[in-house]
């Protein structure tokens, strides 16, 4: 940071993308997911040397099981909050469900995806992406739907005696198959194939995207990353709803630190998880 930029503090503008509510929810998901993966996956990959190490670090299988349930409560809290928000958005605020701004997938996402592939192969320009890209929508809905399945099956395994008072014993077999596979799927989607890549690995966000922690990004960045939303807002004259003066330097530095720490931590958790999964293939 140069001294020159500090003098112009008052003139800076940022684009506000996430409200404190959504940022808070992201923390809930993030913390609970890390915890659940670390306490759950060792059971699935029981023969891995690294599973034993992790289980011992947690103080044994029973203690890890307790921690898994504690993190599950946090995860369920996210689900309740996000679900309530959805209900409020649709029923209370009567927010538009099918709009350019919406997280609901539409035809444009299909076209964007084809456009991105054309761009990958150098056969066209990068498509003008909207407020939420198709992979962000996939991420969001995969997590939400996944939480229903994994949470539901998890609760059945948490209370197996109560579950089988009403349902037959095979329900627990189903719950295990579902929970175990869905957990593996979610881990792959979040740690490698979709989420971490979009937040850290894409050229636009490499090495880390601060927006989910601070809530804003520089206007310049915004214009290039979400060109369509910007254009629409410019035309509709609603740009001032989302563009605000930048927060103080101290605050920006704080968000920088938060992002840095979370990135390193996330990177460690993801590496450990991959190590744990890959280890038995070789040893």
């Amino acid at each position: 940071m140069s001294a020159g930029t500090d003098a112009k503090e008052g003139m800076r503008l940022v684009y506000h993308r996430f409200s404190p509510f959504h940022r808070f929810n992201h923390y809930l998901v993030m913390i609970s997911f890390f915890g659940l993966v670390l306490t759950g996956l060792p059971l699935k990959f029981k023969t891995s040397y690294w599973s034993q190490v992790l289980m011992d670090a947690f103080g044994g299988v029973a203690a890890a099981g307790f921690a898994h349930r504690a993190f599950a409560v946090v995860n369920i809290l996210y689900f309740i909050l996000e679900g309530s928000y959805m209900a409020y958005f649709v029923l209370g605020r009567k927010g538009p469900i099918f709009s350019d701004d919406s997280i609901v997938p539409g035809l444009k996402d299909w076209q964007d995806m084809k456009g991105m592939f054309r761009w990958f192969f150098g056969k066209g320009p990068k498509p003008l992406l909207n407020r939420f890209t198709y992979w962000e929508k996939f991420d969001y809905w995969a997590l939400f739907a996944g939480t229903v399945l994994i949470g539901g099956s998890g609760l059945m395994m948490w209370f197996p005696e109560a579950t089988t008072r009403v349902l037959p014993g095979i329900t627990l077999n189903l719950a295990l198959v579902l929970h175990s596979n869905e957990a593996f799927l979610a881990t792959g989607v979040i740690f490698i194939f979709v989420h971490f890549f979009s937040a850290h690995g894409r050229p636009e966000s490499f090495p880390a995207d601060e927006v989910i922690f601070s809530g804003y990004l520089p206007v310049e960045h915004y214009i290039h990353e979400r060109p369509l939303e910007y254009e629409n807002r410019l035309k509709a004259g609603t740009l001032d709803q989302v563009v605000r003066p930048a927060p103080s330097k101290a605050k920006r530095r704080m968000f920088g630190w938060v992002t840095g720490i979370v990135t390193v931590f996330a990177f460690l958790v993801a590496s450990y998880t991959l190590l744990l999964i890959i280890w038995p293939l070789f040893f």
């Binding site: 940071m1 112009k8 008072r165 799927l185 690995g201 894409r202």
Partner: protein, 327 residues
């Protein structure tokens, strides 16, 4: 708006470009540490068994008389070059691992507690497999009558006396416990080994058991989880169809209730031995397992290709390091 763009651009650089190199370096260092510690831990695990093997036993706490006899027998029988002798059914390895013998549950027994009639003087030979098989059980019976009586009534015990083809394969005491390195039961290590003991002959059952919570938990050290013998019994094993079995229609619920006091009839119908991806599994379990298998392959493949292409384009257009901010 336009007037602010200059400062916005400045800000954008500050947020993205200037930190990239530093952050990439940090990630590289973290990765290096993770890999280094992995390699370190891997090398220590491979070393461990070697060190335990070389520890010599201390015979000082042995009873004087039996120690005397045992030591003399071992003068010859702890020599690895003693080799094998032929009997009418195969070969007998005459070598006894002295350290393992002294560490075993029978470490204090003189050799002739089981090998009655043997003395350390050059001894008569009984090169006869039938002899060994018979005496094996009888030898144990002298001191472990309770287990022997139970075993006799069990399916394994009945089979082994029947002289049928299955009987040849049915386990006698030493097939499950070993001979000269019998371990104390009740320790975590022993419980963890039980599935392997049965798995020698019931491999498929072992695999399915290890995929349930019980199997996973005991593998990772949760001592209270059930092993084969908590459900089937150890010396009183009977086919599930036998009403006397611990897992028969009438007995299965109490068996689960030993550890799951609130279990109901429905709970006990949980399938312990099911391989979800096998066509023999109940259809709904099979369907869900196959659905997820295909789903995982599809999602990972698509995500992987998308990611690689994105990186390729980003590198090709110099979006990562070259032109800061990807613009």
């Amino acid at each position: 708006m336009g007037g602010d763009l200059n400062s916005a651009r400045q800000l954008a650089k500050e947020f993205t470009c200037s930190k990239r190199a530093a952050a990439a370096a940090v990630l590289a260092i973290v990765l290096a540490i993770v890999l280094a510690s992995a390699a370190l831990a891997a090398s220590t695990t491979t070393l461990l068994p070697a060190t335990t093997n070389t520890t010599a036993p201390s015979g000082s706490d042995q009873a004087a008389g039996s120690e005397d006899l045992t030591t003399r027998c071992l003068t010859c029988h702890s020599q690895e070059y003693l080799g094998t002798v032929q009997d009418d059914k195969g070969t007998q390895n005459l070598y006894i691992d002295s350290a393992a013998y002294h560490d075993s549950a029978h470490g204090l027994l003189p050799c002739n507690a089981c090998h009655t009639g043997f003395s350390h003087d050059p001894h008569k030979m009984v090169n006869n497999a039938e002899f060994f098989r018979q005496t094996a059980n009888e030898a144990c019976r002298n001191c472990h009558d309770d287990q022997f009586e139970m075993y006799k009534q069990s399916y394994h015990g009945t089979l082994s006396r029947g002289g049928t083809a299955a009987g040849e394969k049915a386990p006698i005491c030493i097939d499950c416990h070993g001979t000269h390195a019998i371990q104390k039961v009740g320790t975590l290590e022993y419980k963890q080994s039980i599935s392997d003991v049965c798995g020698k002959c019931h491999g498929g059952r072992e695999a399915t058991f290890l995929d349930t919570y019980h199997g996973k938990a005991i593998t990772l050290g949760r001592e209270s989880a059930a092993t084969c013998v908590d459900c089937h019994g150890a010396h009183s094993i009977l086919p599930v169809s036998n009403p006397q079995s611990t897992l028969s229609e009438a007995n299965i619920l109490p068996t689960c209730q030993k550890c799951h006091p609130d279990a109901s009839k429905g709970f006990s119908t949980f399938l312990v031995h099911v391989k979800p991806t096998s066509t023999k599994a109940p259809l709904i379990v099979f369907a869900v397992a196959v659905f997820y298998l295909l789903m995982i392959i599809a999602v990972f493949a698509f995500g992987g290709i998308h990611t690689l292409l994105y990186i390729y384009r980003g590198l090709k257009d110099g979006m990562y390091f070259g032109k800061g901010g990807g613009h």
